[in-house]
Symmetry: C2
Subunit: 247 residues, 2 copies
């Protein structure tokens, strides 16, 4: 296969500058939305409906969905689930449909629906995801959820890790994959300590969730790849091919 | 003096997310607008009027200004000056007024006029600039001109170099100064080679301006600090204090 292109959109506020057609978009919100989604499917959740607005999520709850809502790092009152990956390891969620809204992650998914295919990335499933992308003929855009429109370190580091994993098959289209890749290679032996300085980790530590952070930065815990089918995220089956994505 | 805050806006397309009030904005377009401006004042140019639109620049030319216009790395036909720092070393420009428009740099200046003060940064005057900022009580926002709204490596590296130079007096407000600082510290011993891979350097090399690139990445050639007074950039006099900036 010819070399494909990889680009990184550092925040959803720069989405207007990027090409979506003919592209697989990898949505990333390491702390913690996409790490939770990966964990949920690995533990048997049937489907996840990501919605951008809190009100939409509340309506789905009224329709019988299990609902998860987080704003600024904390669970919103009146919803069952928070934004910790450990909450999604609960056997009671097996086979269930969940509606999710988070500060940054679900908004990024909503915005990237124009693309041909949307998949969910996290350190937890990075190798499975890299192998899938290598097997597909399409270019890739990594969309970092960031923090309220701004660049953040943890999503950019994941973008760098994925760019590094794909370097033999994909060329960087612009400077952001290169910068992310350099950053990742600089700190890869000690990401957890490196991220202690990041603004979001400081914010989350005030909420007492060090265990979440450490888990979300652990590579290759799961083989699942969640992807968007219509308005729902479901688990990709093995032997899945590109043409089915987004179908 | 209490520690102040430093933030980095990676591209003008993220300006809406940043605070401008009570802030000195450092506008950076290393290749090549702000490097040219620094060089121009160091060689005796009296004033520079940065304009965002080509048409505005053309009108100033008709009013007798020496006019410089660049788009996509090349001089626009009908204008006297291009965007090479070496063009601004010409003794004939001493004492002259110049109108300048470039792809990214002047647009960044226009957008940052809401701030209290706008200064021009480049590797060429980085230590003089750092000393000035240390002496002022205000927070700092480094505004990278980027490339057509996107992140670029050379401006971010400068932002990292300035953040590093200011680290004893300023705390990073967000993740972007941290990331820029890490990148800079990673490559500081060999910035020119490192940037060979960047998209803009590749673009400029096709235009045959390696000499410009090398010069623009050289630290501390000049002591001048251009700053915006009304609509014009002029050279800051020594013993300048913050209250005068933007006055």
């Amino acid at each position: 296969m010819a070399k494909r292109k990889i680009d990184v959109c550092l925040t959803p506020d720069l989405l207007h500058l990027y090409e979506f057609k003919d592209r697989i978009v990898v949505v990333v919100d390491i702390l913690r939305a996409t790490s939770c989604m990966t964990t949920a499917f690995a533990h048997g959740v049937k489907e996840i409906i990501p919605v951008a607005e809190l009100e939409e999520c509340r309506k789905l709850k009224e329709q019988g969905f299990i609902a998860a809502a987080e704003r600024n790092g904390s669970k919103v009152e009146g919803f069952e689930l928070d934004n910790s990956p450990f909450s999604y390891m609960n056997p009671k969620l097996k086979g269930k449909s969940i509606a999710v809204t988070t500060t940054n992650g679900t908004l990024a998914i909503s915005k990237s629906k124009e693309s041909v295919a949307v998949v969910i990335g996290s350190f937890l499933n990075i190798s499975a995801l890299a192998n899938f992308l290598k097997s597909q003929p399409q270019n890739v855009l990594i969309l970092c959820a960031g923090w309220k429109g701004k660049f953040n370190l943890e999503d950019s580091l994941f973008a760098g890790a994925l760019t590094e994993a794909l370097k033999d098959d994909f060329d960087s289209e612009c400077d952001s994959p290169l910068a992310a890749q350099y950053l990742y290679n600089y700190v890869k032996t000690d990401i957890v300590n490196f991220l202690q300085k990041s603004s979001h980790v400081k914010r989350l530590k005030r909420l007492g969730i060090e265990k979440d952070i450490e888990f979300c930065l652990t590579s290759d815990q799961y083989e699942v790849i969640p992807f968007l089918k219509g308005d729902k995220l479901i688990k990709m089956e093995s032997n899945f091919t590109y043409n089915q994505v987004g179908a």
